[in-house]
C-alpha cells in the first residue's frame, strides 16, 4: 500500500509564482498587545512629565534671574521722623554709598518718584508731605565686585539717623527656598509619573503574555531561551514607548513653542508683559528642549526595560 505520490517526496523545489517566502510575521502578534491604550497612557504621562519639567525649569530660571538681578542691588531706606530733614539725610546716605568701594551707581528716589511707587496702592493726587513716607536709595553693585556690605550698613546706620540698608538677603533666601521647593515637588511628580507608567507597562506586559501563552510555549518547544522571548516583548514595548513618548513629548514641545510665540506676539499687552516680567519669557530654551527630548527617550527605555523585567519574572514562574 505504498501509495505515496512520488512527486511529494522528490519533486524539485518549486516557487509559487516566483515569489520567495519570507519570515515577515512578528512572532508576537501586534494585535495581541493592548498597544493603543498603552501608547495613550505613555503619551499622557510624557506630556504631563514634560509640562512639569518645563514648569520647573521656568521657575528655576526666573528665580535665578531674579536673584542675580536683585542681589546686584542694595536698598537704603531713610525713615522719616519728626524734625528730621529727609532730603538732607537722603543726600548724605547717597553720598556715603557713592563713595563706598564696589558701588557702581547710586540713585536716590526723589519725592515724586516715591509717590509714583506708591500710586498703585494709594492712588494719584497724593502729597507726600502729608504722609511720613520713607525715602529709598537704590545702589547698584559694580559688576564682579563684592563690596563689604556689612561695613556699608554700619557706616550708613551710624552716620545717618533713621537710615538702614537692605541687601535683600532674606528675600533672596526665601526665593531660593521657594525655587528649591518647586524643583523638589517637580521631581516628586516626575517620579510618581514614571512609577505609574511602569505599573501600566507591567500590567500591559502581563496581559500580552497571558494572551500569547501558546506562542511562548511553542517558542520554548523550538528551543527559544527566556532572554530571546523577553527580547521579543521588549522590542514591541520599546516601540510603543517611543510612540507614546514622541506623541506626548511632541505635544508638550508644541505647547511650549506656541506659548513662546504667543508671548512674543503680544508684548505690550499688560497681562502678558506682567507674566513676562514674572517668568522672563515662556521660552524654555535649548536645555528645555533637550530635557524634554531626553525624557521621550527615557520613557521609551523605561517602558522597554519594565516589560523585559516583567517577562523575565513571569517566565521564571512558568514551568
Amino acid at each position: 500500500m505504498m501509495d505515496m505520490p512520488k512527486s511529494d517526496l522528490t519533486a524539485p523545489t518549486r516557487m509559487t509564482g516566483g515569489l520567495r517566502p519570507r519570515n515577515e510575521t512578528p512572532m508576537i502578534p501586534k494585535n495581541s498587545i493592548s498597544g493603543r491604550a498603552l501608547v495613550a497612557v505613555v503619551a499622557i504621562m510624557t506630556f504631563l512629565a514634560s509640562l512639569t519639567t518645563g514648569a520647573v525649569m521656568l521657575v528655576r530660571a526666573s528665580a535665578s534671574e531674579w536673584q542675580s538681578d536683585v542681589a546686584r542691588e542694595v536698598t537704603i531706606q531713610v525713615r522719616p521722623a519728626p524734625g528730621r530733614d529727609l532730603d538732607a539725610a537722603t543726600a548724605t546716605a547717597a553720598g556715603i554709598a557713592r563713595a563706598f568701594p564696589g558701588i557702581a551707581e547710586v540713585r536716590p528716589y526723589s519725592k515724586e518718584e516715591s509717590a509714583r511707587l506708591l500710586e498703585p496702592w494709594l492712588g494719584t493726587g497724593l502729597t507726600l508731605d502729608e504722609l511720613p513716607v520713607p525715602r529709598l536709595i537704590v545702589a547698584k553693585l559694580a559688576p564682579d565686585a563684592a563690596p563689604d556690605l556689612a561695613q556699608l550698613r554700619k557706616i550708613v546706620g551710624e552716620q545717618v539717623p533713621g537710615a538702614s540698608l537692605d541687601d535683600h538677603r532674606g528675600w533672596i533666601d526665601r526665593m531660593g527656598t521657594m525655587a528649591a521647593t518647586a524643583v523638589a515637588a517637580g521631581i516628586g511628580i516626575l517620579v510618581l509619573m514614571f512609577a505609574a507608567t511602569m505599573l501600566s507597562v507591567a500590567f500591559a506586559t502581563r496581559g500580552a503574555m497571558a494572551a500569547n501563552r501558546p506562542v511562548i510555549e511553542v517558542l520554548h518547544f523550538v528551543g527559544a531561551k527566556d532572554g530571546y522571548i523577553a527580547g521579543l516583548f521588549q522590542r514591541h514595548f520599546l516601540l510603543l514607548g517611543l510612540k507614546g513618548g514622541v506623541l506626548g513629548g511632541g505635544a508638550a514641545l508644541l505647547l511650549f513653542a506656541f506659548a513662546g510665540l504667543f508671548s512674543g506676539w503680544f508684548v505690550g499687552n499688560a497681562s502678558v508683559s506682567q507674566a513676562t516680567a514674572l517668568f522672563g519669557s515662556f521660552s524654555i530654551g535649548t536645555t528645555g528642549y533637550i530635557s524634554v527630548g531626553s525624557q521621550i527617550v527615557l520613557i521609551a527605555v523605561v517602558t522597554a526595560w519594565t516589560s523585559r523585567q516583567t517577562v523575565n519574572r513571569t517566565l521564571e514562574t512558568i514551568d
Binding site: 505520490p5 518549486r14 509559487t16 519570515n23
Partner: protein
C-alpha cells in the same frame, strides 16, 4: 543518548503516573512507545523533551544529567530534540513556511541560510503549495505534516512524536510512517508514541510498552 534510571513521575499529590522507569535510547534507533490511553505516553515524552522534571530518578540526555541544568542549558539541549505534539501546536498567525522555519529563526540564523531547506522540506512532505497558508485553513493531515516538518527541519538527533497518526486516514498514516523511517535512516533516533496497532505492525521495530506505570521493553 538517553538514559533513564529508576525514574518516577507524579503530578502534584496524585498517584505515580510513571514508576521505576529504567531504559536507554540508542543513537540511530527507532522505537514505538505504546500502551493504553492514560498509561503515561505523553508524560514520558514530556520527560524526554525536558519540559517536565521527574519526581525521582536520574535522566541523562546527550551525556548531561538534566537535573543539574539551568533553563538556558535545557533550551539549548531541546534544540537537539524535535517534537510533534498530538495537537500540533502550530502558530495560527504565521504561514506554514514561517511555522516550519521557526526553529531556525529562534536560533537567530540568517534566513538566506535556511530558506531553501525549508522550501525543500515543505515540498517533500507535500506542502509545497500550502507554504503561504495559515494553519487554520489547513486540513488535519496538512497540519500534521507541517508539525512534523517543524520538528525535523533543524535535523534533531532525537525525534519524539505523540500519536502522529491519531487523526489521519490510514494511507496518510502510512506515508507519515515512511517519513519517520526515512529520517531514522538519515541518523535521527525516533520515538513514536501510538496505540495504533496497525501502524506498529507495518514496521518491525523496538517497542516500549507502558502498563500500570511501568515500562516493558520488547527489542
Amino acid at each position: 543518548m538517553v538514559r533513564f534510571e529508576n525514574v518516577g513521575l507524579r503530578y502534584g499529590l496524585g498517584p505515580e503516573v510513571l514508576r521505576d522507569l529504567t531504559f536507554r535510547v540508542e543513537p540511530h534507533s527507532f522505537q514505538f512507545l505504546t500502551g493504553p490511553s492514560g498509561a503515561g505516553k505523553t508524560s514520558l515524552l514530556r520527560l524526554l523533551f525536558l519540559s517536565i522534571k521527574p519526581t525521582r530518578g536520574l535522566i541523562t540526555q546527550f551525556g548531561h544529567d538534566v537535573a543539574t541544568l539551568g533553563k538556558d542549558a535545557l533550551a539549548t539541549l531541546r534544540r537537539r530534540i524535535g517534537i510533534v505534539f498530538q495537537d500540533f501546536r502550530l502558530l495560527d498567525h504565521m504561514t506554514t513556511y514561517e511555522n516550519v522555519a521557526l526553529p531556525f529563526r529562534v536560533m537567530g540564523r540568517h534566513e538566506d541560510s535556511y530558506r531553501d531547506e525549508v522550501i525543500e522540506l515543505l515540498n517533500w512532505v507535500g506542502l509545497g503549495e500550502r507554504m503561504w497558508a495559515l494553519p487554520p485553513v489547513l486540513s488535519g493531515g496538512e497540519k500534521q505534516r507541517a508539525a512534523i516538518a517543524r520538528a525535523v527541519i533543524a535535523r534533531p538527533q532525537l525525534l519524539l512524536a505523540d500519536e502522529p497518526t491519531g487523526n489521519v486516514d490510514p494511507s496518510l498514516a502510512q506515508r507519515l510512517l515512511r517519513l519517520f523511517i526515512e529520517l531514522n535512516k538519515s541518523g535521527t533516533s525516533v520515538i513514536i508514541a501510538t496505540h495504533d496497532i496497525a501502524l506498529m505492525d507495518q514496521y518491525d521495530a523496538r517497542r516500549l510498552v507502558l502498563h500500570d506505570g511501568r515500562l516493558h521493553v520488547y527489542d
